[in-house]
């Protein structure tokens, strides 16, 4: 199969994730959308690696996974804390930083 198709898939996944981040209000769903965007990037990296015949993209994909795992730990902790104090996981409710 033509590897370029994987790139189309990656773009599609990224767009879905980005749309979810912009549209959805639930923090957990937002988080999942962010993960979707990260993994779309990973897919793109791996595909490029394959296309160019070197391993750089694959190594970066591993880095991305490690960073994403760390981000999930911190992000979920924040979401849980917000949920405890506000009894809601809606990001729109946490808009009090504006003037």
């Amino acid at each position: 199969m033509n590897p370029v198709n994987y790139l189309y898939l990656a773009a599609l996944l990224f767009t879905i994730g980005a749309a979810g981040v912009v549209i959805r209000r639930n923090a957990i769903v937002l988080f999942m959308c962010v993960e979707l965007m990260l993994n779309a990037c990973n897919l793109a990296f791996v595909t490029f690696s394959r296309l160019h015949g070197n391993l750089d993209g694959q190594i970066i994909a591993f880095f991305t996974m490690v960073v994403a795992a760390a981000e999930v730990v911190v992000g979920l902790a924040i979401i849980v804390t917000i949920f405890r104090s506000r009894h809601s996981a809606s990001v729109d409710d946490a808009s009090l930083m504006k003037l």
Binding site: V21, V22, S95
Partner: protein
Amino acid sequence: MENLIGLLVAVPLLGAALLLCGGRRLDGKGHYIGTVLAAASFAIGAVLFADMLGRGEHDRALHSKVFSWIPVGGFRADVAFQLDQLSMTFVLLITGVGTLIHIYSIGYMEHDERRRRFFGYLNLFLAAMLLLVLADNYLLLYVGWEGVGLASYLLIGFWQHKPSAATAAKKAFIVNRVGDVGLSIAIMLMFTTFGTFAFAPVLSNAGDAGEGKVTAIGLMLLLAACGKSAQVPLQSWLGDAMEGPTPVSALIHAATMVTAGVYLITRSGAIFNAAPDAQAAVVAVGAVTLLFGAIVGCAKDDIKKALAGSTMSQIGYMILAAGLGPIGYVFAIMHLVTHGFFKAGLFLGAGSVMHAMNDEVDMRKYGGLRKYMPVTFVTFGLGYLAIIGFPGLSGFWSKDKIIEAAFAKGGTEGWILGGAALLGAAITAYYMTRVMLLTFFGEKRWVPDEEGHEPHPHESPSSMTIPMIVLAVGSVFAGGLFSLNDAFLKWLEPVTGHSHGDSPLSAAAVTGGTMVVLLIGVALAWAQYGRRPVPRTAPRGSLLTRAARRDLLQDDFNHVALVKPGQYLTRGLVYVDHKLVDGVVNGTAASVGGLSGRLRKLQNGYARTYAVSMFGGTAVLIAATLLMRAV
């Protein structure tokens, strides 16, 4: 001997420092400290005088350099003193009259709780005035010049709780500033012209500097003299300065400080000799002021203001004489010294009368005081005879010489100046007779003061009468002593030079003329104030009288010519400042504020909005990168 000169200034300066910084613990003895130090300064002056007399006519001047003040490259200013015959005359006058007035003030200021401070200011004045006359360069003279201005300000406003006194002090200071600017410009011109401002090189080179420059320097010096000596057009402060305590009026505003202008012009004689135009201006100022002051003196009912008008007029005589050049310098200084005696005596007498009359100053409420205050009457009377030029007394010798010198100027100018001086002598006789008659003769016109106390005139304590007696003795004999064998002329001639001029009238004719106008003046005053009772409230009077009561409209003139335009100017500037300058500043601030208010709305706190802007930004960046690559 040279070292004593510095001490002359240092002693009263020490007194001022002690009294002004010493605090309340000196309250009880401050006046003694001040008086003793003033007397010590006089004693040093007397020692130096005796020493000077012991030396030959041409090596009498002493010079003493204390330290280099500002040595910067080619610019040199030294604190150095020069004591020649001219300075010596002033030193003796300042410390002598100063000491007497210190003694007088012990009695006069007895009930004032700030007496220590008063004596501190008096000592400060003595130090500054001595610095002024002892300086050997114009810059140091300027320090003394400002110093006496400061002391004058502090003393005029000594009773600062009275708004009138505070205002008068400010007025004196501000008017004096105008003159001071003249002096500072003159000093700058001297520096650019001669490269120095020490007396000796400036004065010896004045003839070669080009007439234009010397005339400019001369006119600026004249402006300075006008400010300090209350000459037209900067005369308006002197009348108000009478708000100060009377000893201050006697010392500063009659005998010494106001004569500093005469000193300045006489000291700078070489400059004026080289600039005939500046000299003509000096003469004109003197002649105008001697009539101006005399006319004002005729109309004032306030005894001190009448005497202030008289001071202005007498200094007009001195300035006139100084403007005549070598014909007049010696007589200007001679009149200055005799005037120092009799005018200080008259002011102290006026103070004694006020002391006795519950501080009433209106002469129309005096009358008949000769029986109650015999010592004051006699001393004031002798001062009166001296100032009008009664034959044999001080004023006769000195004023007569000035009138003679004015005629000796020659030509039409000489006749005009001599005529003005003669007319001034007649008016002097008139207004002084008026003061004398209103105060000491006629019936009692006393009225109770605001609290209902009837005045009980009494002779003043001996601390006040003794200085008056000493000054009266000076008023009687000083002029004759000076004229004996032309002693004063021979004394000062090595410093100021002298020429006889070419008088169209003989000396006897001038003396005769002076006697005639004197009698006319006295007779007129007698007809008006001696022969018939004096009303307690002043009659309306003629147009001239009313104008003279308002100081010949000097304040109105200043108000219209200077104050009003100044106010319009400041108002205009304030308008421009508010509308234009503030408008730009405030407009900028308001538009930035408005813009940021709009921009703020972008920050709505919703995470998705930020996310969209991030996506948008990234998309733009990528598009831009691709575009660049395509190009």
